[in-house]
C-alpha cells in the first residue's frame, strides 16, 4: 500500500524533474510551488496523524538483509514534528522564491528549482527514516543539494569559497557520522535506530563516549554550533534568500534533531553519570555558541551575515536546553527538569524555524528592493513594502524574544529550565545569566537590522528602493502571523511539541489563564507563570488609557521638519549608519568569533564542476560534436568542380567495391 508519506517523496522527485526542464523563472517557480504545496499537504496529513494519534507510520521500500539495513519511510512522533516544520517552512520559502528569483535573470531556473525540491526531499527524508545507513544517505543528499544551492551564484569567487568551506567541513563531520554508524553496526549487525540504541547502551563506556563524540561533532557542525559550524556565516549569506531561509530555518535544526535521536533514552540507570557529563558538554557548547554568535552579530553590517550569526546564537539556546535535558534525563526525581529542557529545546526549534526563516526572507526583500544587503547603504524601505516591514517587525521582536511573540514563550521555558536546573547543579545558573545577556544582545542586533533598513529616511545612495511582488509579502506575512499566533497561545503549541516527544505536558504545565502556562513547582522546577492573552489584554487596556491621556489636553498635531540643531543638512549627512550602532560596545569586546581562514585555492571552481554534468559531460559532448561537424563542413567549399570530383571518386569506389563483391 502506498501511504501519503511515499507520495510526498514521489511528488518532490517528479516536481524536480518537471520544473527542471522549464525555461522561465515564473513557470518553473509556479510549478515547483504546486508540487511543494501538494507534498506539504500529504506530509501534513501523515504528520498530524502520527503526532496526534501517537502511533507510527511505516512503509517498507526495500531491504538489504546482508547489511541488516532497510529503506523504509518510518515516521514516529519526533520525526513527524520535524516533518511538519520542514515542509511548512519550505513551502513558504518556495512561494517567496517565485517573485524573488527574478533577480537571477541569467541563471537557469530549472536547475534551481530541481535542486530546491531535491533539498526539501532530502530534509524530509532525514526525518522519515529509522535506519542510520539511509539516514546518512539522505543526509548527504540534503548536504549535496544545499551545496549546489549555496553556490548558485558561482561566478562570485567569495561564494565559491563559502561553498567550498561548507562542503569540506560538513563532509568531514559526516564521515564521523559514518564511522559511528559502522562501529555500532559491527556491534549489533544492524543499522536500525532501535538496535543502535541498545548497542550504545550495552557498549563499554569508552566506545560509547567515542561514538557519542563523533555523533555530537557531526550534528553540532550541521547545527552551526561554535566552533564546529564555522561554515555557516559564509554559506548562509551566499545562498539565494529563499534557500537561506530554509538553511537557517530548518536545515541547521536537523543538527538538533540528530542530537535528540542519539541521546534519546540514553539516560538510563547504568549510563546516568556519563550522560550528565555529556549534558554539561552539550550545554557548554550551547552557551558558548549563543554568546559568541550574539556578540559577533552586533558588529555585523551585512543583513544576511548578521542573521547568520544570530542563527549560531539561537542554536546555542537550543543546545543549552538540550544539554539540560541530557543532564537530568532518567534521573529519579528530576524528570520535570529534564522535561523542561526537552520542551524548551523543541519549542525553540519550532519558533526559531519560523521567525528566522521570516527574517531571512526580510533580508531577501531588502536585497531585492535595493540591490544590496549592506545595512550601511539602505534605509527607509518600509515605505515601499509596508506589509513586509510589519512582518519584519514581528520577526525582529520574536528574535529579540519580546512578549507576546513566540520567541519570548520558548525563551521563557529555557530560562525556567536553566534556573531550575541551577537549583540542582549550580553552573546552570551562570548559563541563565549569560542567556539573559545574550538575549539583550539579540535585541541590540535585531534593532540594528530593522531600524537601519526599514526605518528613517530612505537611502539616496544607489538606486531608489522598488516595491516587492505580492508573493514575497505573502510568504512573510503568513510566517509573521504564525509567530503571533504561537506567541499568544503558547500552551497549545507546547502540546504539539510535547506530543512530538511523546511526553506528558500536564505533569509540568498547568493550564494557565486563557491558554497561558504556569508551573507549580512540584517536581523540582521553579514556579513561574506566563499568560500571554491576559498580558496582551492588560497591555491593550493600558495602551488605550495612554491614548486617552494623550487626548485629554485636546492638543492639535502639526507636521514639522526634523530638528538638527537649527542647521540645514543634506539628507545623506543625517543618516546614522549601521556601522555607528554600538561601536563603543563593539570596541570594548575583542573579536570573539575566531574564523578559520579559507585559502584562495586556484582550483576551487573545479570542485563544483566535478559534480556538474554540464561542465564535464554535456558541454564537452556538444563542443566535440560541433568540432566534428565543422571539420566535415570544411569539405563543403561551394566549388561545383570539386563536388564533381568527389562524385567521380565515389563512383569509382562503388564500382570497385561492386567488382570485388561480384567476382
Amino acid at each position: 500500500m502506498v501511504g501519503s508519506l511515499e507520495i510526498v517523496f514521489v511528488l518532490l522527485f517528479v516536481g524536480a524533474i518537471v520544473s527542471g526542464v522549464m525555461r522561465s523563472w515564473r513557470s518553473a517557480g509556479v510549478t515547483a510551488t504546486v508540487f511543494v504545496a501538494l507534498a506539504t499537504v500529504f506530509a501534513w496529513l501523515a504528520g498530524w496523524k502520527v503526532l496526534l494519534g501517537g502511533g507510527a507510520a511505516y512503509g517498507l521500500i526495500f531491504r538489504l538483509p546482508t547489511l541488516g539495513s532497510e529503506l523504509a519511510v518510518s515516521l514516529d512522533p519526533l520525526g513527524a514534528g520535524f516533518l511538519l516544520v520542514i515542509t511548512g517552512v519550505s513551502l513558504a520559502a518556495t512561494i517567496y522564491s517565485i517573485g524573488y528569483m527574478s533577480i537571477y535573470r541569467d541563471k537557469s531556473p530549472g536547475t534551481f528549482y530541481a535542486l530546491l525540491q531535491l533539498f526539501i526531499a532530502g530534509m524530509a527524508g532525514v526525518a522519515c527514516v529509522a535506519d542510520w545507513l539511509f539516514f546518512i544517505v539522505l543526509w548527504e543528499l540534503m548536504t549535496l543539494a544545499s551545496y549546489f544551492l549555496v553556490t548558485f551564484e558561482r561566478d562570485d569567487p567569495a561564494v565559491a569559497r563559502a561553498g567550498f568551506k561548507y562542503f569540506v567541513m560538513t563532509h568531514v563531520a559526516s564521515a564521523g557520522l559514518l564511522v559511528a554508524a559502522i562501529v555500532l553496526w559491527r556491534l549489533t549487525g544492524s543499522f536500525a535506530f532501535g538496535a543502535h540504541k541498545a548497542g550504545l547502551m550495552g557498549a563499554s563506556s569508552s566506545i560509547r563516549n567515542v561514538v557519542l563524540a563523533l555523533y555530537f561533532i557531526a550534528f553540532a557542525t550541521k547545527a552551526g554550533i561554535y566552533p564546529f559550524g564555522d561554515w555557516l556565516p559564509d554559506a548562509h549569506p551566499a545562498a539565494p534568500s529563499g534557500v537561506s531561509a530554509i538553511l537557517s530555518g530548518v536545515m541547521i535544526k536537523l543538527g538538533a534533531y540528530g542530537v535528540l535521536r542519539v541521546f534519546w533514552g540514553l539516560g538510563g540507570a547504568g549510563a546516568a553519570g556519563g550522560m550528565m557529563t555529556w549534558g554539561i558538554i552539550v550545554a557548554s557548547f550551547g552557551v558558548l555558541s549563543a554568546f559568541v554568535g550574539g556578540l559577533t552579530a552586533m558588529r555585523e553590517n551585512d543583513a544576511k551575515r548578521l542573521l547568520a550569526y544570530s542563527s549560531i546564537s539561537q542554536t546555542g539556546y537550543i543546545f543549552l536546553a538540550l544539554g539540560i535535558w541530557i543532564t537530568f534525563a532518567g534521573r529519579v526525581g528530576l524528570e520535570s527538569l529534564a522535561l523542561l529542557g526537552l520542551l524548551g529545546a523543541g519549542f525553540h526549534i519550532l519558533n526559531d524555524a519560523i521567525y528566522k526563516s521570516l527574517l531571512f526572507l526580510s533580508a531577501g526583500s531588502i536585497l531585492y528592493s535595493t540591490g544590496t544587503r549592506d545595512l550601511d547603504r539602505v534605509g527607509g524601505i518600509s515605505r515601499v513594502m509596508p506589509v513586509a516591514a510589519a512582518a519584519g517587525l514581528v520577526g525582529v521582536l520574536s528574535l529579540a524574544g519580546l512578549p507576546p511573540t513566540n520567541g519570548f514563550a520558548s525563551k521563557w521555558v529555557i530560562y525556567q529550565a536553566s534556573i531550575s536546573g541551577g537549583f540542582q547543579f549550580s553552573p546552570f545558573i551562570a548559563a541563565a545569566v549569560v542567556a539573559f545577556f545574550v538575549s539583550l544582545s539579540t535585541l541590540a542586533y535585531s534593532m540594528k537590522f530593522f531600524c537601519t533598513a526599514f526605518l528613517g529616511p530612505s537611502s539616496t545612495e544607489g538606486t531608489e528602493p522598488r516595491p516587492i511582488p505580492g508573493t514575497m509579502s505573502f510568504a512573510q506575512a503568513v510566517l509573521a502571523l504564525i509567530c503571533l499566533a504561537i506567541g499568544l497561545a503558547p500552551l497549545w503549541a507546547m502540546r504539539l511539541v510535547s506530543a512530538a516527544f511523546s511526553s506528558s505536558l500536564p505533569s509540568i504545565y498547568r493550564n494557565g489563564f486563557f491558554g497561558g502556562m504556569s508551573t507549580l513547582g512540584a517536581g523540582g522546577e521553579a514556579p513561574a507563570a506566563w499568560s500571554p492573552i491576559a498580558a496582551v489584554v492588560v497591555l491593550l487596556v493600558c495602551f488605550a488609557l495612554a491614548q486617552i491621556i494623550r487626548g485629554l489636553g485636546r492638543s492639535s498635531a502639526r507636521s514639522v521638519p526634523g530638528w538638527y540643531g537649527g542647521e540645514e543638512h543634506a539628507e545623506n549627512d543625517l543618516r546614522f549608519r549601521a556601522r555607528g550602532f554600538y561601536s563603543p560596545f563593539n570596541e570594548a569586546f575583542p573579536k570573539v568569533y575566531l574564523r578559520v581562514p579559507v585559502p584562495r585555492l586556484p582550483g576551487l571552481g573545479r570542485l563544483r564542476s566535478a559534480f556538474d554534468l554540464d561542465t564535464w559531460f554535456y558541454n564537452p559532448l556538444v563542443r566535440g560534436g560541433e568540432r566534428a561537424v565543422n571539420k566535415v563542413s570544411r569539405s563543403h567549399v561551394g566549388i561545383p568542380q570539386l563536388y564533381m570530383i568527389w562524385q567521380v571518386a565515389g563512383m569509382v569506389l562503388v564500382i570497385a567495391i561492386l567488382f570485388l563483391i561480384v567476382r
Binding site: I429, V433, F436, F450, G456, G521, A535, A546, I549, A588
Partner: protein, 299 residues
C-alpha cells in the same frame, strides 16, 4: 490575578512616579543651594505638556504610537511589581515576564527614535541599548539570586521569602549590587548617557513634543519607580507590617529615601562616557555574580 492589587499598583505607579521626581528635583536644588521647584512641579509639567502642540516630523505609524506603547508596557510592568499591596502583585508576577516587558518598553522607545530619522535620536537609542546591555546582567543576576534563595521565579514569592527565612549574605550582596547599578537603571547622572541633553539633546526624545512627550516622561518616571520598588520589595522588605496598607506606606517611604540618595549622587556627579559606564558596570557585575555564587552554596 487580583483585581484590587492591579488597581492599587496602577494608581501607585501613575500617581507616585511624578512625586518621586519632585523629591529628586527638590533634593538636587538643596544640594545646589537653590530653593528649587515645589514637590508637585512634575505633575504640572506633565499636565502642561498634554495641552501643547503635538509636533510630528514623520508620518511613520511607529513614531506616532510608540510613546503610548512604551507607557503601556511600563504600566504593565508596574502591575507585575510587588509594591506592598496584598497579595503581592496583580498579575502573576513572573520575573522573566517582568524583565521582558521592561525591555519591550525600551524597544518601543528605540524603534520610535529610529522612525524619527533624527541622528541624535538614533544615537540616543543605540546608547540606550548599550546601557541596557551593561546594566541588565546585574539586575538579572540579583533577581536570579533571589530566585535561587526562594526557589521560585515569582516576584511575590521572592519578596515573601525574606520574612520566612530572614536576611542572608547572598541577598545582601545582591541588594548592594542592584543599588550600585541603580543610578543607571534610573537613567540618572552619572549614567544619563542615553538622554544626555548637552550631547545628544535628549536622545530618543528629541523629536517628541506635547502629549507624546508627556506620555514618554511618565513612562520613564514609572520605570524609575519600578526599579526602586524592586530593590525595596525584594531585597529590603523589612519590617513586615500588618495590615497591608501600612506595608504600602512603608515601602513608598523607602522608595522615596532611595530617590533622595539617588538625587544626592546625581547632584554631585559628572556624566560618564559610555565606555567608562561599561567598565564600571562590569565591576558591579562581579559583585552580583558573587551574590549568585553565595546563593549557590546556600548562604
Amino acid at each position: 490575578m487580583h483585581a484590587g492589587t492591579i488597581a492599587i499598583n496602577g494608581l501607585l505607579a501613575l500617581l507616585l512616579a511624578p512625586l518621586f521626581d519632585g523629591v529628586t528635583r527638590k533634593v538636587r536644588a538643596i544640594v545646589h543651594s537653590r530653593k528649587g521647584p515645589p514637590l508637585t512641579q512634575t505633575y504640572m509639567d506633565i499636565l502642561k505638556l498634554l495641552g501643547k502642540e503635538d509636533l510630528r516630523c514623520t508620518t511613520s505609524a511607529i513614531f506616532r504610537f510608540a510613546p503610548a506603547a512604551a507607557f503601556a508596557s511600563f504600566l504593565v510592568v508596574a502591575l507585575l511589581t510587588p509594591m506592598g499591596a496584598y497579595p503581592g502583585t496583580g498579575l502573576n508576577g513572573d520575573m522573566i515576564v517582568w524583565i521582558y516587558f521592561l525591555t519591550f518598553g525600551a524597544a518601543a522607545i528605540i524603534l520610535m527614535a529610529s522612525a524619527s530619522g533624527n541622528p541624535f535620536a538614533k544615537m540616543g537609542g543605540a546608547r540606550e541599548i548599550m546601557l541596557l546591555l551593561s546594566v541588565e546582567p546585574i539586575v538579572v543576576a540579583s533577581l536570579i539570586t533571589a530566585a535561587v534563595k526562594s526557589r521560585s521565579l515569582l516576584l511575590p514569592d521572592m519578596s515573601a521569602h525574606n520574612f520566612t527565612a530572614g536576611p542572608s549574605v547572598s541577598m545582601a550582596v545582591a541588594g548592594v549590587a542592584l543599588f550600585l547599578a541603580l543610578q543607571a537603571t534610573l537613567g540618572r547622572l552619572p549614567f544619563d548617557i542615553a538622554e544626555a541633553e548637552s550631547e545628544v539633546v535628549g536622545g530618543a526624545l528629541v523629536e517628541q513634543g506635547g502629549p507624546s512627550l508627556a506620555l514618554l516622561k511618565m513612562a520613564l518616571l514609572m520605570r524609575q519607580a519600578i526599579y526602586s520598588y524592586i530593590l525595596v520589595q525584594v531585597f529590603i522588605p523589612w519590617p513586615a507590617l500588618s495590615p497591608w496598607p501600612l506595608m504600602l506606606v512603608s515601602s513608598a517611604v523607602k522608595v522615596a529615601v532611595i530617590f533622595v540618595l539617588a538625587a544626592v549622587i546625581e547632584a554631585v556627579s559628572p556624566r560618564l562616557r559610555i565606555d567608562q559606564a561599561m567598565t564600571y558596570m562590569s565591576r558591579v557585575l562581579f559583585v552580583a555574580l558573587a551574590a549568585l555564587a553565595f546563593a549557590a552554596i546556600g548562604v
